[in-house]
Symmetry: C2
Subunit: 388 residues, 2 copies
DNA sequence: TTGTATGCGTTATCAC
DNA sequence: GTGATAACGCATACAA
């Protein structure tokens, strides 16, 4: 015989599912729901995961309401000192860990920024991450990192996951395969801010952070020319990437300005794995009319060129000048030192993080610049210094 | 004049907060809650984020219940073909994106595995990530990556975030600063499985995946000895890391087995940034009784040693043998080639991922091995090959 | 096969 | 200053 604890009725009691592993009842007379202490469902042991402390547990333990607990935990003003103290102590005692899922669901905000990068193998993205991480952490945001491994499919799946997890904003650098941007348009449609960086694209009206690839390449190639190199080859990245196209453009512009002929045979574009860099490098250095300098789209390829040259007994910088891009750590130490373009990687991380924070704050569509261009620096070392 | 749409009463209508930006009312007579179409709260425009389609929207659009929609979306069996079809079509039409937060909250499961790594600068962790990512994705899990940047404090904050976000499991490689493990014990207490890898610790009863650092180092040093090197120095990592201690132990054991004296002056342990590696390397090569070989705890330090040797005109391998650890990509190409220990990085990722999946499935505490040791491979190249 | 009603853990509104 | 209760979006036990 079960009595309703509220109206004490006994006639209209009905079973009403389970709650926290216990049989639940409803009194159809007074609409009161209740459980009976000590009763357990059969599968209780199995289905009940280790119970996580909730604010309700804290509330019960102290004998106050959960709203008060919530307010106390978040330091709202309208709360007495003692209550607040008691809540915090009990929270510690019960080892309370807030449930971010429930919080996010209620607030419609996750305090999480997603970041998708194509790879971790160069030090470029790790450094960007460090910069962004610091800014976001200070602002109270979490940074969730995913890597697309240069695969368009994985990138799609990553964006879907970011969407499902309701990231508040997205920082993304595209894979070299990406040439369709519908998966990013979805974010715009949903009002979730995006900032593209490094591997950006045209045709998408979102903020972009890049470096001055064109000018940097122009300057790098001009530097080679001014050092007396005549036949400058270019080992470029895949043309699907705008950075590759921009660097190629800078290369061509410098040649043109100084009246050097453009030899398409001395331009190779492609995805530069170590193996490919070696193959292309050997091709270049075996050309009948061998180039006397190489401008490579990244440092690892430039270093590969230097290694091949050494094997072939071609002296650097006298017989071959080499310039890379990125200023990897090892570039300062290899051979006579690799001349290269230093990119402000941490600053890029800081910039994209600050930008996304600003976009999150601005409810109104304040006028924002569409693109920020960070400045690089040409680091001149032994591999290109023929005149001195 | 407001009528209750259920009992048509007009006397007991009271305001009852806002719902989705609209004024909400309750009929105290029949306990029915309702809103009035067309009414809006003052701040409506501002607070109402772009509405995300929910299963309720789909249900309303078709005129069925949300539970049916839920079942249809998840392909439950007890659903008619037509209903299911209609739901899927409407979901596509309304551009429905499931809310993982709500899902996770209801299911008490996030389908997310967290991974915390100390750094991305060496190719080691990126490769582990690739291996783990593949396995987890196939199993329907998301991988959320955080990096502690070799900072204990960030590691703490990362684990707290993983906890708050209710990751189903945690894969973690510790920072070199970490020597307190309470933040990991919390996971055990909560029944959240952990797998430690690479940077592991004693004193924690959790699964660990490592490589055979001791044997690998032993073999590497023995290889040097068998090639006729007599005075072998060791450039080691910080002793707070077990990998450093194990590699040191292997080094000492090999010396002992072959009756070589142990010279503490020829052992340097520390965090090997490029700068530190250079400083320590110069110290070693400037010793009055200079070592004729160096066993370095990682490849970047070994390469640094090689570069210093070249600068000093010390020939490799004749005057100096060098062995590294990890088989970085560049190690195959530098100088005469760097002898090193190849670690099965992807396999490590695969292993930790499979292990955590297994731990998630096993409700019962099945007997699990406490530690898995993956096998390395000594890659012999020119830097140590004196006899041939 | 489908609908009803409730929980998941939190915040927020309103009433007191 | 505090309590009661709905909502956030989804899954599910049970009833129909």
């Amino acid at each position: 015989m079960i009595h309703c604890p509220k109206c004490n009725d006994v006639a209209f009691i009905m079973k009403a599912g389970y709650i926290r592993g216990k049989q639940r009842y409803v009194c159809k007379s007074c609409h009161h729901f209740f459980t009976i202490a000590g009763e357990h469902s059969p599968q209780d042991q199995q289905r009940k995961r280790r119970h996580q402390t909730t604010i309700i547990d804290i509330a019960k333990a102290i004998g106050i309401s959960n709203s008060t607990v919530s307010r106390a935990l978040h330091g709202h003003s309208d709360i007495s000192r003692e209550t607040r103290q008691a809540v915090l102590e009990m929270a510690a005692e019960l080892d309370y860990q807030p449930n971010q899922l429930a919080y996010s669901l209620a607030k419609n905000k996750t305090n999480t920024i997603g970041m998708i990068v194509p790879e971790f193998f160069n030090s470029f993205f790790p450094n960007v991450i460090i910069g962004a991480h610091q800014i976001l952490t200070e602002a109270g945001y979490n940074l969730t990192i995913m890597q697309s491994n240069e695969s368009y499919d994985i990138e799609i799946s990553n964006t879907r996951a970011m969407l499902a997890n309701r990231a508040d904003g997205l920082l993304i650098s595209l894979t070299q395969e990406t040439n369709n941007f519908e998966h990013l348009a979805v974010f715009e449609k949903r009002g979730i801010p995006i900032v593209l960086f490094n591997r950006v694209c045209d045709g998408l009206e979102v903020p972009k952070v890049v470096v001055n690839d064109f000018e940097a390449s122009f300057q790098a190639v001009e530097h080679l020319i001014l050092n007396g190199y005549e036949r400058i080859a270019h080992l470029g990245g895949p043309l699907s990437l705008m950075v590759s196209r921009e660097r190629l453009r800078g290369y061509k512009a410098a040649l043109e300005k100084h009246g050097k002929p453009l030899d398409e045979n001395m331009i190779i574009q492609g995805m530069l794995t170590q193996q490919k860099a070696r193959i292309y490098g050997q091709y270049l250095l075996d050309l009948p009319a061998r180039p006397d300098a190489v401008f490579a789209v990244n440092d690892s390829s430039a270093i590969e060129i230097m290694l091949i040259a050494k094997e072939k007994g071609i002296s650097i910088p006298d017989e071959l000048g080499v310039v890379g891009f990125s200023d990897n750590p090892e570039s300062a130490y290899i051979g006579p030192g690799l001349t290269t373009v230093r990119q402000p990687t941490r600053e890029m991380g800081v910039t994209v993080a600050n930008w996304i924070l600003q976009l999150l704050e601005d409810d109104a569509d304040t006028e924002i610049p569409e693109r920020k261009v960070l400045q690089t620096e040409l680091i001149i070392r032994g591999s290109s210094r023929r005149r001195e």
